[in-house]
């Protein structure tokens, strides 16, 4: 498990360059360009179970969803930040990507520290020290846990039957 640590105000252009937004939409097309202008090693080396950690306002900027789709496709266990921009936050719920807003945990982290996240328990552990973070409201957890918004909507539509 590797922790990819970044600064404040990591915007969506750094997470996924705008020049590809209308030519790359599927997870396979997105992955090679993920974080291209921020950290070229990420797309090559990031693995399922890794954690992304950042400062304030992570994901600010565009509404493009390639960053959340891409991070989910890589299998990122959680994105931990001091704070998130709202469209990114919402998009992560829609993709079933776990976000942890916990400034104390980010501040406690030093390079090489082990980090683990328990989303159900609302606990993040950094170098053996536990921090609690607020859990999402139940109706939002239901969307995330269904595997994302479209999976949730498919179930709802099937339940109600065809119009």
């Amino acid at each position: 498990m590797k922790v990819w640590k970044y600064d404040d105000n990591i915007n969506t252009d750094m997470l996924f360059p705008g020049k590809y937004t209308y030519t790359c939409s599927t997870a396979e097309e997105i992955r090679p360009h993920l974080l291209e202008d921020l950290d070229p090693d990420f797309a090559k080396q990031a693995q399922a179970g890794d954690i992304v950690m950042a400062g304030d306002n992570f994901g600010c900027g565009s509404s493009r969803e390639q960053p959340t789709v891409g991070l989910k496709a890589v299998g990122i266990k959680a994105v931990v930040a001091r704070s998130f921009a709202r469209i990114f936050y919402r998009s992560a719920i829609n993709q079933g990507l776990i976000l942890v807003e916990c400034p104390e945990a980010v501040d406690a982290y030093s390079d090489g520290d082990a980090v683990d996240v328990d989303p159900e328990g609302g606990v993040i552990t950094v170098a053996g020290k536990e921090f609690r973070f607020p859990k999402l409201p139940p109706q939002i957890i239901a969307i995330r846990d269904a595997g994302g918004l479209l999976a949730y909507v498919r179930k709802e539509l099937a339940r109600k039957g065809a119009r």
Binding site: Y22, S62, S63, L150
Partner: protein, 421 residues
């Protein structure tokens, strides 16, 4: 305790008498904006569209604007898929390539109305706050969900109040005001908040309000909204949009988590330096900085008043040989007006390159890209690293007056020296 704009509007749209801050409500948006990304949106739900169709064909408004005309086979195919979708499902509101940038079109065509709720798979959907709408950005997946269900959830945000006094003076513009605010409170200063503008808003034209609301997201706002007044009514009257709306506004005693005050008379021409929108300084600090490209346009500053300002400065002058000037009107209607007024002739004679209405250069998606080491002075809303297609280029954000004046010298000029408002 009174209610904020966000509380009142979201209560109305969720069919409740009142809502509390932080409450999660299910709402039926008046409209859903999607653009070139409609192609990717519908490809997520091909099967479901076949089974369930579009929930309400009056809700989607689709504008092809991000890569227009198509740049290659892939983007052309996207456009084709969108046209086929519109035709097959009978989507009522569709604007093909060339009509303009979505945010201009939705307001000019009367889709974004006072008291309406609009969500869009574009972060600058917040522009519609200019006309008193609650408007906010969502991702493609959520847009797909709304096509199928006609509804979504929203959390009722806390609100910030920005109290304006006085009147913009000299070469200062709405762009300089919003850059100043973002510079003061930072790119996350309004995160998750509904931002309400109060006070002396009457002197701000509809174009000014659109520029300001457009950049609400650059300080993290969920929406940024102006009160509906005579300026709004006159705007829709001239646009030929009937008065079918009912406006919504905050109570006098509503509760805000933060209140800011700005004296419009004190605003000066401002520039946001690379690579974040809150990295703002007065233009006077950068005078003489050489720029390789000057760009006037986008959903922030591509309106008739912006082009008029640029033409007044450039009339009888030439763009400096060491820079290039791109002009991008925000819509066909604006382009046509600019043509009739002789604005385009002036700008072309001065050496400007006129581009078709669209979004391409702003996000590095189409035309106007930068080379490594180049600097662009732009009227757009974002100066993120790599934004205009090159990670080793720099973008500076400013008003149309600043960009036009600087194009003549090939370097940053204080528009206060050339503009007499």
């Amino acid at each position: 305790m009174g209610e904020t704009f966000a509380q009142k509007l979201l209560a109305l749209k969720s069919g409740k008498k009142s809502v509390d801050v932080s409450e999660i409500v299910t709402v039926r948006p008046d409209h859903l904006l999607t653009h070139d990304n409609t192609a990717a949106i519908i490809s997520k739900i091909g099967d479901e569209l076949g089974t369930y169709g579009v929930a309400d064909t009056d809700i989607p408004v689709i504008v092809i604007d991000h890569v227009v005309p198509a740049s290659n086979e892939k983007t052309a195919t996207n456009h084709k898929k969108i046209r086929e979708f519109v035709s097959k499902f009978g989507v009522k509101h569709f604007y093909d390539a060339g009509e303009g940038i979505c945010h201009q079109v939705l307001i000019a065509e009367g889709h974004a109305l006072p008291g309406s709720l609009i969500v869009g798979s574009d972060s600058h959907t917040c522009t519609y706050g200019a006309v008193g709408a609650f408007a906010t950005g969502i991702d493609r997946t959520e847009a797909a969900s709304i096509l199928l269900t006609g509804q979504t959830w929203l959390k009722v945000p806390q609100s910030m109040k920005i109290e304006l006094t006085g009147r913009l003076a000299g070469a200062a513009s709405a762009k300089d005001l919003i850059l100043t605010i973002i510079g003061d409170i930072s790119a996350s200063g309004a995160n998750y908040l509904s931002v309400e503008f109060h006070g002396d808003t009457a002197s701000l034209s509809m174009e000014d309000r659109m520029t300001i609301a457009n950049m609400g997201v650059e300080m993290g706002a969920k929406n940024a909204v102006f009160p509906v007044d005579d300026v709004t009514e006159e705007f829709f009257e001239q646009a030929g949009v009937g008065k079918t709306w009912k406006s919504v506004w905050a109570d006098e005693d509503a509760s805000y988590i933060r209140t800011l005050s700005y004296d419009l008379d004190k605003i000066v021409p401002t520039i946001a330096k690379p690579h974040s929108v809150d990295n703002c300084v007065p233009v006077t600090e950068l005078v003489g900085l050489k720029v390789d490209q000057c760009f006037i346009g986008t959903c922030t500053n591509g309106r008739l008043g912006d082009l008029r300002t640029a033409a007044a400065i450039l009339k009888g002058r030439k763009v400096h040989k060491d820079t290039r000037l791109l002009i991008l009107p925000a819509s066909r209607e604006i382009m046509l007006e600019a043509l009739k007024e002789g604005i385009l002739q002036t700008l072309i004679e001065s050496g400007g390159i006129v581009l078709p209405p669209g979004c391409g250069p702003c996000l590095g998606a189409h035309q106007g890209a930068l080379a490594p080491g180049e600097k662009c002075l732009s009227t757009a809303n974002r100066n993120f690293k790599g934004r205009m297609g090159c990670v080793d280029a720099e973008i500076y954000l400013a008003s149309p007056a600043t960009v036009a004046a600087s194009a003549i010298e090939g370097s940053v000029v204080d528009p206060g020296k050339v503009v007499d408002r």
